[in-house]
């Protein structure tokens, strides 16, 4: 029965199907009636809330405040920054009318042709344009700078092929948009926020990331530099988990945002933008989960501990309930979220399978023998290992165990990446190895043409030029031209 409940495709069988099964069966999200748009179900949304809270605290610690800008952007705004429009105008939802009316034949409602907008409005695919149009009125002097604003919002990019969390037409995200008086300050901000994202990924998601810069062709549309964090999924593919863009004065110029500097001279403001999205939930799932279901890092698990009573009769249940009650009180006092599941219409085996599927980090089971022996059965989800532990100090045992699980899944992911990252020098070897699902460090001549050729021939892209690591020069594996350092290549989500 427990087996049937899950019916997950294994990762070995079909990684992509495993992912899709898991998102559905663990009740995280589902497709909606609107093509490409998902419904984020309560359990998936609870993970997002944990992510939001941690990120929001980190943004505020680094001096940012939240604000909210309009959902709709006048079409003409998109055209003001030449690269930006190329990147975003192609796939967006266009509002052309503002009213419906009853159909004359009574068949329902139709668009009222009299309510056509003079200028069409676009549902934001990202908000640089509307925000910089607003900043123009907020910035006159260097004293008005920096502006350090973040927005939590929904955005829409019309996608033809969608996958829950990883690529959907509508998604939730945060977008930071900052304005600065100097180039240096803006560049520092860009790198600071890449650092915040990396810290969040590693400390909260237990997901090791490579910090780097994007190549020119992979940059954000309108950016001078895009900094990224790239994570390896269990199939060896890369997932871009967060980006931070140095936008130079492009948006300052496009929207005429000038200020008087300390010396009384007029200059354009310098810009950054940075964002992470509900895509991170997909990354979280694919980093740690297994053929039994989700494996969640304790720091982001909506419920960290579940307690299941195993009882013969009402009297025994009451006794177990007493014992569980005091454990729950101790755990809560330590800030640990805990659920007690004494539902009587499900068997313990069903519950065990269900909580494995949901990725609850620690499961405690208490039965008759545990009452006699003053013990608790403890199961850790990451290793699926059971131990019987004395009830004395069980709470601090669990607290340490949660820390250990957080560390262990990080180390496991780190070890996987280490074992699947190689350096190659020949293009033939590259073509062979990329099939195995690896991160490959290779020399490249720095041209978009060679990058494009590699992409077309191998489906691998340059994920980033890593900031740390080997900086020795070499020769491009494809053209033999000089290369300043190795880039990280991989196939990606």
């Amino acid at each position: 029965m427990a087996k049937e409940l899950k019916e997950l495709t294994t990762r070995e069988e079909n990684y992509s199907q495993w992912y899709q099964d898991l998102v559905i069966k663990a009740d995280l999200a589902e497709n909606s009636a609107v093509r490409g748009c998902m419904v984020i179900k309560p359990y998936g949304y609870a993970i997002w809330e944990k992510m939001q809270r941690a990120l929001d605290d980190m943004f505020k610690e680094t001096g940012h405040v939240n604000a909210y800008f309009p959902l709709l952007i006048p079409k003409s705004f998109l055209s003001k920054e030449a690269d930006h429009v190329e990147g975003f105008a192609k796939e967006c939802a266009v509002v052309t009318h503002y009213r419906l009316k009853n159909a004359a034949d009574g068949s329902g409602v139709i668009v009222d042709p009299a309510a056509k907008l003079e200028e069409e409005l676009i549902i934001r695919p990202t908000s640089e344009t509307i925000i910089w149009n607003t900043y123009r009125n907020w910035i006159q002097s260097y004293r008005d700078l920096p502006i350090l604003i973040n927005q939590w919002a929904n955005v829409m990019r019309w996608e033809m092929r969608t996958r829950l969390f990883l690529r959907t037409s509508e998604f939730l995200w945060q977008e930071g948009h900052t304005a600065h008086a100097t180039r240096q300050e803006a560049e520092e901000e860009t790198i600071r926020m890449q650092g915040v994202y990396a810290r969040f990924a590693e400390e909260y998601m237990a997901m090791p990331v490579v910090k780097g810069k994007k190549s020119e062709s992979e940059r954000f549309a309108g950016a001078l530099d895009t900094y990224t964090i790239e994570a390896m999924m269990q199939d060896g593919k890369a997932l871009q988990a967060g980006t931070s863009h140095f936008l130079g004065q492009n948006f300052g110029k496009a929207f005429d945002v000038t200020f008087i500097d300390k010396d009384g001279k007029t200059d354009y403001a310098w810009a950054t933008s940075w964002g992470v999205s509900t895509r991170l939930i997909g990354a979280l799932i694919m980093s740690h989960s297994d053929d039994n279901g989700l494996v969640l890092p304790p720091k982001l698990a909506p419920t960290q501990v579940v307690i299941v009573p195993i009882y013969r009769n009402a009297e025994q249940l009451a006794e177990i309930g007493n014992k569980a009650g005091s454990i729950i009180a101790e755990l809560k006092a330590m800030g640990i979220t805990v659920k007690y599941d004494d539902a009587d219409n499900k068997k313990p085996g069903w519950k065990f399978a269900e909580y494995e599927l949901k990725g609850i980090p620690v499961r405690l089971a208490i039965g008759g023998r545990d009452l006699e022996n003053n013990t608790v059965e403890v199961m850790r989800r990451d290793k699926l290992e059971k131990e019987t532990i004395s009830s004395d100090n069980i709470a601090s045992y669990v607290k340490n165990l949660l820390d250990d699980i957080q560390r262990n899944i990080y180390q496991k992911a780190h070890a996987l990446r280490a074992s699947r990252t190689i350096s190659v020098d020949s293009y033939d070897e590259f073509k062979a190895k990329i099939e195995e699902g690896l991160f490959i460090m290779a020399h490249w001549d720095g041209t978009p043409e060679t990058e494009e050729r590699i992409k077309n021939e191998t489906k691998a892209t340059i994920r980033c030029i890593p900031i740390e690591g080997d900086k020795t020069t070499g020769r491009c594996m494809v053209t033999g031209q000089a290369s300043a350092c190795r880039a990280l290549f991989a196939r990606s989500y």
Copy 2:
């Protein structure tokens, strides 16, 4: 200078202009480039975040979880519930295309006619339809019920005349959507959430509200009953601050959401929905603020205490800084948010005016004499009263003062409402009194026709039939027909 900074129209002069000035000058929000859509600035958004946190906690305490449903709704969904479409189809943003392309003449981007949607999509004005379409797949048995879901989201209703926070085309809100197995349970939920809203309004916003039911013509489109909380603004007008709808089986039937009950019979699910929005920020402003600026209740003030040093030289500033530092540490330990403003490019007088404008509940000033005398100057924003207090136990003094301010502004608002609420029995008196800006309790024959006539002739509407209070029967002041109880009439926002 301090005077110029504010330049607020007084409430007496022009209440509506005072409100608009205040929203702009206190940096809460502004109009955007998109007609009817506002930019919520960081200070305004910080108030919204405090509101969200308190409400979200209350929703979770009452068993609700959050989720997220699509922004876009297929046009045909709106038509499925007959009353609902009448209420919402008239003013909505319609997405008809999903791509832009470069204009042939190089003039910018145009809508790509090849990318026309088969069925138009509507930006959600409210989400009953898309959510109940989703619930159909979630509900099979009474065991799947209740579903107690809330969503934090943006919504859009095309408004012709907008006012910041009070009525904007896009606004932020939360919308609860619950499904139940019985009528009774759904009705209890509806009333429970009205109670949550009333408690939030009174305990957090310090805004007394009248709890009641809407008359038939003021009900939510698709509801059998709409429960409301109505607050009195300082000009005597009513503001609907939150509504909770009992939707019966209307959406269950419209979207074919059936379940098998305990007896094995099939029935349609029962629904409720309930929401409050960024409109509450407008209500908060208009409830308490004065001609010097905002007055914020301590429980929702982003910064509760500001400390301003008044110094002659750097040495004295350092001494004051030391003293302030220990006060700040004590206040923070009590969970009080405090800001220390030692900016040297603004004079104390300017800062005082600025923090009055921003409605910081308590201002502490520390000068040379305070160092000598071991004192602090304390100003409470609600009464604009200053006292000089010994530095010993200043933190607990401030804590009590914040509680006192929270109570005082509630009582002040409550007293205002009491002084401006009357009962009248003759329609002539009603017509005269309504001009004064009052809540009027009056008998009415219960028909939409009479209600409509009163509205046309006096601009007053039935805000609600209060749940508590006088339930004696009488005669309609207009038609003389029998009336079961008095309704609350007022002009409104």
